[in-house]
Point group: C2
DNA sequence: AAGTGGTCTAGACCACAAC
DNA sequence: TTGTGGTCTAGACCACTTG
């Protein structure tokens, strides 16, 4: 059995890595200006187009910005954001980045028919069986995120393994169904702990406090809806930031 | 006086318009697949690179997605979103898209020193004078958005014209300071009407209800902070959606 | 004048999907 | 086999910023 080295990393991926390193280095040394596109393409031995292609992705994410005639600069404000509110970010990481020690508790797993809103969002057949995992995430022992992940049961090969579900539903879908989530559409709602299922008793909340509800449908690269998530955040402890860029499609 | 026709529209802009038309047409006729890149570039008489460049922008916004070997498709879910939660969207439009008749009331304009958080966000000198405009937006006569826009006074040429401030702070900055906002960094916070300034009395609220607070710093293309906005949304009436894509920078 | 990013081209080859 | 998108190139010219 001959072991092949990992190859076929595309030039684009290489350039991406290099640029990330450059950006991190700039961040550390408190500088903001990247080398010019020509210099970069020469140093990396790729065409300028390839460099620009990668840069465009970072630019549209807000990580860098360009000024014609002057150069390309890193956006320290964007890099400083604690939690970018992007999909498929593990809540444990969110809690860690906010400076707390994260723990999880699996409250329950319910198998059965989905409620109407979920079935609609996931384009389910009326008789489709779904799995709903309810979890609580704690920051230094204090409950700060409550979430319900729902997906169709027959996405999964074989039986449900609860222990694997606790850690990460995204990884679970990846490992047991080969599904990678690339984007989601989320509705942002302000609510209150008294409006939680069971009025918050399930989640050990007594007082009434404001919560942020992110209700979203997660999709694959081919735009197939695969998971419905309701996540309640205590924004007093969990700071969620977002970089928004001017729309290129809807404007004009 | 010879009138010149508007020229110098770049090929990219032309392609952008064409693609938008194509997408709208597909949307109307309930189809999802765009013509191939080669066909498009030939029909528009531009290189494939130019077509791809424009497509990449739409793709990163989630408007379209590609499947290698199959083609490019429009994302109807993204196109159906009522309010994309992008910066510089007028709140009146937000209200309209939610199906209500919008009206505005200018509550007050305060000129003076900014509070610490604002001064920090806008990188103001300690003695900088700011203008803060407080508004209420109504949907069918019901208050649904409360916002406070703060910017440095000496951005503006000449005196403040209150009437122009009512309609849109973005247009105001554009017309009186030549400033265009391209992006913002926003913190998403769940709160309650009782936590509003003056406990909501200023905004004519009696009962306590959940509100979504978007607290953001707006920037120009050159990443200069120019405006600080606190906007409180009644998400019971105003549905805010967001398409989130997997991070290309932070992941890996 | 020199350097930067912005636009644009023509053409090549590869990987994937469908028939 | 054909058509699709994905990657990649070398080179040109333009627009803007700075010295």
């Amino acid at each position: 059995m001959d072991i092949q080295p990992i190859q076929n990393i595309s030039l684009k991926q290489e350039v991406k890595r290099s640029l990330k390193r450059v950006i991190k280095h700039l961040e550390k040394t408190n500088k903001t200006r990247l080398p010019g596109e020509l210099e970069l393409s020469q140093r990396l031995a790729v065409s300028r187009v390839t460099v620009r292609d990668v840069m465009k992705e970072f630019e549209q994410e807000g990580i860098i910005y360009k000024i014609q005639g002057k150069g390309t600069f890193i956006n320290i404000n964007a890099l400083k954001m604690k939690v970018t509110l992007s999909p498929a970010v593990e809540f444990k990481q969110v809690i860690e980045k906010n400076g707390y020690k994260p723990t999880v508790e699996l409250v329950e797993i319910i198998t059965g028919l989905a409620e109407k809103k979920v079935a609609l969002g996931l384009h389910l057949d009326p008789d489709a069986i779904t799995v709903c995992a309810k979890k609580i995430f704690y920051a230094d022992g204090k409950p700060v995120i409550y979430c319900e992940d729902t997906f169709e049961k027959n996405l999964i090969n074989g039986e449900l393994i609860e222990n694997d579900l606790i850690e990460s539903t995204f990884e679970y879908l990846l490992n047991y169904a080969g599904i990678t989530v690339t984007h989601d559409i989320v509705e942002v709602i302000a609510t209150n702990s008294s409006k939680l299922p069971d009025h918050g008793q399930l989640y050990h909340i007594s007082e009434s406090k404001p919560l942020l509800l992110l209700q979203s449908v997660y999709y694959t690269a081919k735009n197939r809806p695969v998971m419905f998530v309701k996540a309640y955040f205590d924004t007093e402890y969990i700071k969620l930031s977002l970089l928004r860029r001017q729309d290129v499609y809807f404007t004009d």
